[in-house]
Amino acid sequence: MFRSINNNQSELITIYFEGKALRVQKDLNVATALLEAGISNFRETTIKNENRGPYCMMGVCFDCLINIDGMDNQQSCMVKVSDGMKINRQITRNTSQDEQ
């Protein structure tokens, strides 16, 4: 379980993950905020449909990609949270069968 041990916590803001409101510290990046909220399943891979979450936290591995405010492929370890931000799990493969 991830938790903060900082003496001075920054003020709290609200972000939404899959529609659910989360109160998080405003100076966190998206990946850290989600981990602290107990979320580590950020996306589903395109080829094998496996769950993935953050791995390196320094912008190298691209495993923490997530949908932020409607945009796929955002590096959540490099983006700061902001009030009202809407975050969703990322699934870039085609989810509907009617196409193609």
Binding site: T46, D72, N73, T92, R93, N94, E99, Q100
Partner: protein
């Protein structure tokens, strides 16, 4: 054949055919020959060799091809028609899904002149083909029905149901794998010499000589130096093309187009450039930028999509842009092939050209106009 075996010294291996070149053309022919029951060796270059096969956009493209040469247009259509069976055959044999689709392609027009010119070309191709080829011209609003993301600056597009696409890297892998499964032998060793001896050929690498009855040159730019050794001439020159590849995005483009292609995994290929820079396989930031700009013009949505890689490869071109298919008169059994449409023509190369060569025939009469003799004038 028996006589040849007896005469062969110990450090020689024998083959019915040797294919020089392991790219899309070489591997298609080598696979086709092995498929016809030949004992075949394919010689490929080392890992960092110049390879057009790795820079392919993956289009099986008919519209516009051979507009000024009906033979080439026919040849292209012949391959396009065989592609569905060809991809199925490779999949059954190797288990590799080539991500083949042939549901028609769009070629965009970015201004009125381009649109008018395109229509003339398409019409000519239709007439030349006795109405076998068909096309449609769509304006922006018609295009929007099929491609909702199309940008307002796109005047229109030509559409042809003949066009398709495939993963060119998996095609190359499948050809190699199928070749191997049919008993073909792959050598990764550059050819140092090639000699015609009586009714046979001796192909040499730095360490070994190989004897064969037929030799097929599909070695890209190396054809230029190898061909004269067997009485052939392959005047080709490089033209650089740069391609961009993006991160994977949700499927939105279900047809191949001339500039943008979405692969089965969701990544986009964006093409391309035409640069006269000799054998420089580098990339140029200005060209990359032009490709990016054009892609955004066509699909404004791409503005926020990231490029993962830009790369270039060298097209193997002739002065008239048409392929070279030649059979040597002075050294019967020697063939030279050169084309920059290794994907589109893979089916005819593997099925038609290879079976002609396997039988020991001259190339089919429809290909005589592609002899390099046309440049001798």
């Amino acid at each position: 054949m028996q006589l040849l075996t007896l005469l062969t010294p110990k450090n020689m291996s024998n083959f019915d055919s040797v294919v020089v070149g392991g790219g899309l053309i070489g591997a298609s022919i080598a696979y086709g020959l092995a498929r016809s029951g030949q004992r075949v060796a394919m010689f490929d270059e080392v890992d960092n060799a110049i390879r057009a096969a790795r820079g392919n956009f993956g289009l099986i493209w008919v519209q516009g091809k051979g507009a000024n040469n009906p033979y080439y247009a026919t040849w292209t259509r012949q391959s396009a028609k065989q592609w569905p069976d060809f991809s199925r055959e490779l999949k059954e044999l190797t288990g590799i899904d080539l991500a083949f689709e042939q549901n028609g392609g769009f070629d965009f027009c970015l201004n009125e002149v381009e649109f008018a010119d395109r229509q003339i070309i398409m019409e000519k191709m239709t007439v030349d083909s006795d109405d076998e080829f068909s096309y449609e011209m769509l304006n922006n609003s018609q295009l929007k029905q099929v491609l909702p993301n199309i940008g307002p600056a796109v005047i229109g597009a030509s559409f042809s149901k003949w066009d398709g696409h495939v993963n060119p890297l998996y095609l190359l892998k499948a050809l190699h794998k199928a070749f191997k499964q049919l008993g073909g032998k792959l050598y990764i060793n550059p050819i140092t010499d090639l000699q015609h001896q009586g009714k046979a050929f001796q192909v040499s690498t730095a360490t070994t000589n190989y004897a064969c009855e037929k030799v097929i040159l599909a070695a890209g730019f190396s054809n230029k130096t190898l061909a004269p050794k067997v009485g052939l001439n392959v005047p080709v020159y490089p033209q650089r093309g740069e391609i961009l590849v993006t991160e994977k995005v949700k499927p939105f483009l279900h047809h191949p187009t001339g500039y943008v292609r979405q692969t089965q995994d969701g990544g986009l290929l964006l093409g391309d450039s035409h640069e006269d820079v000799g054998f420089d396989e580098g990339t140029n930031i200005n060209e990359i930028q032009q490709i990016a700009k054009r892609a955004i013009t066509i699909f404004p949505y791409l503005d926020s999509v990231k490029i993962i890689r830009a790369w270039s490869s060298l097209r193997i071109l002739t002065r008239d842009g048409l392929p070279i298919y030649d059979h040597s008169e002075s050294c019967p059994g020697a063939y030279a092939l050169s084309s920059h449409s290794g994907v589109t023509l893979a089916a005819v190369h593997a099925l038609d050209v290879a079976s002609c060569i396997a039988k020991g025939d001259s190339l089919s009469p429809s290909l005589t106009c592609f002899s390099a003799k046309r440049f001798d004038v």
